[in-house]
């Protein structure tokens, strides 16, 4: 064997010492191919069925795990029909297992994790539910949750399930207007908050007349403001509510599967929030389907830091209860998440591409600055392990020892499963996570309106760049979108708008018949607005968004989110906003820069650093960032017209506060256009100036 370098030869030699398995023994055992009508080698993850017997068109995909019947109940426990049943099952099966853990002590300091067991949580949720009844909150009343992830959130949620209250989760980052709208729209009667969000609430308390009870979590009674008795609103602390409930325990009023469990307000990228009505049956069906894809175990530890008001985290919480898993909460500060991970050492880690992109940037930057030797070592190890994973072989433990174990330690060292959802994860980054963390990494696709998961990657599927096969609890079809040239006849793969049907589909937008009819058609199909295609094996790949697409002047269609995902890999880029329209033939970018990288780079280039704003306005810096973005774009094989031709750098990040992001960190395009209107027109002026003779061909 010849190797390109001594290092490669040495690595290969040591690796061969560790591989004493006889070669090709994998062929000695194989599955006996059976003649099932539902499984063939081409469609191994999904089965295809006709939508209607009379049309004869076979275009409806179901999971190969349950082709005959859509799953609506947990296969091992079909008696569980509601969230209440689910929790009762958990605390009867695992009463003494750790359940809710926090490292924030009552005095606000941070220490080791302290835990509540499933049985303790069961007692607390009965007390909280009884406390609400004590204050005159009746079955069917809406209860708001307006605070960041912490054990009390889950206790209140279980109380709502046990006493048939409808929970209305609100992002703690929502501004006053959105909260006011949701509270009034859902006529919330009781709301749980923390001292920080209490102030927001008090500023417009008179404008939310349905509120009768405000419960403050983590505040002492003596510090609570007193309200004029005429206002009709009572403010109590969580602790007081707990003791009030304990001294007058009420029996449960369990919900039925068809009862409403929660109303989730999704902001959407445009317009006013919409209240997604989900029943207990919806949520249980979704989790039941997803439980066929991944088993959570009582020995697992889950870290909760994604907003509980988002369906992705909420659905996980239901699955986690079913498995008897321990849930540790972060301190409430994303900047300290790494520290929390090191202490908790979770086995399950669910996140969003935004965070995975940051992890990727962090590791690749660390590798780049670790010297030529370490960099080479990393490259050799990375390529070898990636190759092994693609071929479905076990990678040599050598690479883990040399390189990857140290990286794995960053998430505590015990992660066995990584999930990604909420927005598309770039395939490179998925491969990177699989190699570096050596665990199952699976991407899922879903939305609030489908109670979370529509599809997810199957176990043992090593291909990245898709979102897997349908959740066994729903069926999926693609519908032609002629105006965007997506049809079921497309080669090599059929394409179209993703439509979903089954027990996971929501009941409608709360008191908004019209918008409900827009999204659910007469045959009960929910139109997601996402464009997908079917990869071989019945695996769905999201390629576009029906709304987020525009044409450039020369007629090319642009999907800006795809391009933003590419540029996110550029080291300078923290966030980017790609803009284009049919009046211009090229794209421009507004980039929120990574301050640390900028500062270091300026120092290395000898550019004087006064403040970030000054760097952002420096034409040399702009040029360098654009050059770096170009090279990232080339690496990812962007097409020529997909490159941003000019860039504006801004020092401040795009946030919820400045109105540029949705709570799920998607960019609000109309707002972005207005916010950066001046920068955008300047960039187009700049492009026009540098290219005075626009091609007239």
């Amino acid at each position: 064997m010849e190797f390109s370098s001594p290092a490669q030869r040495r690595l290969e030699t040591v690796r061969s010492h560790l591989d004493s398995s006889p070669t090709d023994d994998r062929t000695s055992l194989f599955l006996n191919a059976t003649a099932s009508p539902f499984s063939n080698e081409d469609d191994s993850y999904s089965v295809v069925l006709p939508e209607k017997l009379d049309t004869g068109k076979w275009n409806v995909y179901r999971s190969a795990k349950s082709p005959m019947k859509l799953v609506s109940r947990l296969p091992d426990h079909p008696e569980i029909g509601t969230l209440h049943d689910n929790f009762v099952h958990a605390f009867e099966t695992y009463p003494d297992n750790k359940y809710l853990g926090t490292r924030v002590r009552p005095d606000g300091t941070v220490g080791d994790y302290t835990w509540m067991t499933y049985a303790e949580t069961a007692i607390a949720r009965q007390a909280i539910g009884s406390g609400l009844v004590y204050h005159g909150i009746n079955q069917g009343a809406r209860v708001g949750l307006y605070f960041i992830n912490r054990p009390e959130w889950i206790v209140v949620d279980h109380a709502c399930a046990a006493y048939s209250f409808i929970s209305v989760p609100l992002y703690e980052t929502l501004g006053p207007d959105a909260v006011k709208f949701a509270v009034n729209h859902a006529t919330v009667e009781a709301i749980f908050c923390v001292p920080q969000t209490l102030n927001t609430l008090l500023s417009f308390l008179a404008e939310i007349p349905s509120i009768r009870l405000v419960v403050v979590v983590g505040g002492a009674d003596e510090h609570l403001p007193s309200l004029p008795p005429r206002s009709g609103v009572k403010i109590v602390s969580y602790q007081k509510l707990l003791s009030q409930g304990r001294s007058s325990l009420h029996p449960f009023s369990p919900p039925k599967p068809e009862d409403i469990a929660t109303i989730c307000y999704t902001s959407g990228t445009t317009g006013t929030p919409k209240g997604v009505v989900l029943t207990h049956g919806n949520l249980i069906a979704n989790v039941a389907g997803f439980s066929l894809a991944i088993k959570y175990l009582p020995s697992d530890i889950y870290i909760s830091y994604l907003p509980l008001a988002h369906i992705y985290e909420r659905a996980h919480q239901i699955l986690v209860v079913y498995g008897g898993v321990a849930v540790g909460f972060y301190q409430g500060d994303n900047l300290k998440l790494m520290d929390d991970l090191a202490v908790l050492r979770p086995t399950l880690f669910c996140s969003v591409p935004r965070l995975y992109n940051r992890i990727y940037d962090g590791i690749t930057n660390a590798v780049k600055s670790s010297g030529a030797m370490k960099k080479r070592l990393f490259q050799v190890a990375y390529n070898s392990k990636k190759q092994a994973i693609i071929n479905g072989q076990n990678s040599s433990p050598l690479w883990d020892k040399l390189v990857f174990n140290k990286i794995k330690e960053k998430l505590g060292g015990r992660v066995r499963f990584m999930g990604s959802g909420a927005s598309p994860l770039s395939p490179d980054i998925m491969d990177f996570l699989r190699v570096c963390f050596g665990c199952a990494v699976r991407e899922g696709y879903g939305m609030t309106e489908t109670s979370c998961v529509i599809s997810s990657m199957d176990e043992g599927d090593n291909l990245s760049g898709h979102v897997g096969s349908p959740n066994p609890a729903c069926e999926v079809k693609l519908v032609d979108v002629p105006e965007m040239n997506y049809t079921s006849e497309d080669q090599p793969y059929p394409r179209g708008e993703i439509c979903v049907r089954g027990p996971i589909i929501f009941k409608g937008y709360y008191e908004d018949e019209e918008q409900t009819r827009e999204i659910i058609d007469g045959d009960d199909w929910l139109h997601t607005g996402d464009i997908g295609l079917w990869l071989p094996g019945g695996r769905l790949k999201i390629i576009d968004r029906k709304k987020n697409i525009f044409k450039l002047a020369q007629g090319e269609y642009i999907a800006p989110e795809k391009i933003e995902n590419v540029y996110a890999k550029c080291k300078f880029v923290s966030q980017s906003f790609i803009y284009g329209d049919s009046f211009n033939s090229s794209l421009v970018a507004v980039v929120s820069v990574d301050p640390d990288v900028m500062k270091d780079w300026a120092a290395s280039e000898g550019i004087k650093y006064e403040h970030l704003g000054q760097l952002c306005n420096d034409p040399r810096v702009r040029k360098a960032v654009l050059a770096e973005m170009d090279s990232v774009g080339r690496e990812s094989q962007l097409r020529g017209f997909e490159f941003a031709k000019a860039v504006t750098l801004v020092p401040e990040p795009f946030t919820l506060e400045n109105g540029l992001l949705t709570p799920t960190f998607k960019i609000k395009r109309p707002q972005g256009k207005a916010y950066f209107a001046e920068a955008i027109s300047n960039m187009y002026a700049e492009i026009a100036a540098s290219d005075p003779m626009p091609s007239k061909l």
Partner: protein, 317 residues
Amino acid sequence: MPVFKAPFNGYSVKFSPFYESRLAVATAQNFGILGNGRIHVLELSPGAPGVTESMAFDTADAVYDVCWSESHDSVLVAAIGDGSVKIYDTALPPPSNPIRSFQEHAREVHSVDYNPTRRDSFLTASWDDTVKLWAMDRPASIRTFKEHAYCVYQAIWNPKHGDVFASASGDCTLRIWDVREPGSTMIIPAHDFEILSCDWNKYDDCILATSSVDKTIKVWDVRSYRVPLAVLNGHGYAVRKVKFSPHRRNLMASCSYDMTVCLWDYMVEDALVSRYDHHTEFAVGIDMSVLVEGLMASTGWDELVYIWQQGMDPRAS
């Protein structure tokens, strides 16, 4: 028992045949894959810390093995990753070292062994598939033995016959050589996987042991080499080195990628005498003192060198 922490990953450890308290250690940066190497000379002392470094020599590439001269108490020979063989005199300060450097092997030199009976020559085994014979006063190697079809991991002199040696190779054979003969005198296909190490019994010049990627150690009698005298199972990964005791006829030590060091009595049915799990990374170097019975040393990728008395816990201080 004393422990020495090296800045690099350990590859080999050898007791001095002249001083019972002296050892040499071969180390390499980045697990020997890329980077520099260093040779440490260690001195054992009665009180704490028990072991101190008396000297260190830096090299431009990994040091995979080291051995003491049998004729000069201060002289060391080192096997270097860049294919060179370097000679050091610990009586001279580091700037005057190495006193000789031979650049002949085309690839990594993996082992070096000084002739214990004639005391005038030494052998090197290399990944260029050859074994070379050297003498201190010659400007170049005396002979090259080229028969193996893959890396030679170790070549080791017979303890009685000053012209006979054995070589262990990745081509899955063990070869016996007499330097007076033109080619090898015996080829033993000892394992179905790469052979990483071999050693002669110090009490019976016809018995030797091999260790392999197949996780076993086999003991052979060259007079009837069709079947091994014994097959020792117990390591969980490839056995990196095997070494016979200089004091007890049936005793041998081994170290492995399974991170343990084992002692074996190959004559009894239940051969495993003891297992030491003090290393936290691959254990790749082992030696037994000729001068103090039962004194052992080991090193590994955890950058630690342990020196301990048989029967004691290497970690107990």
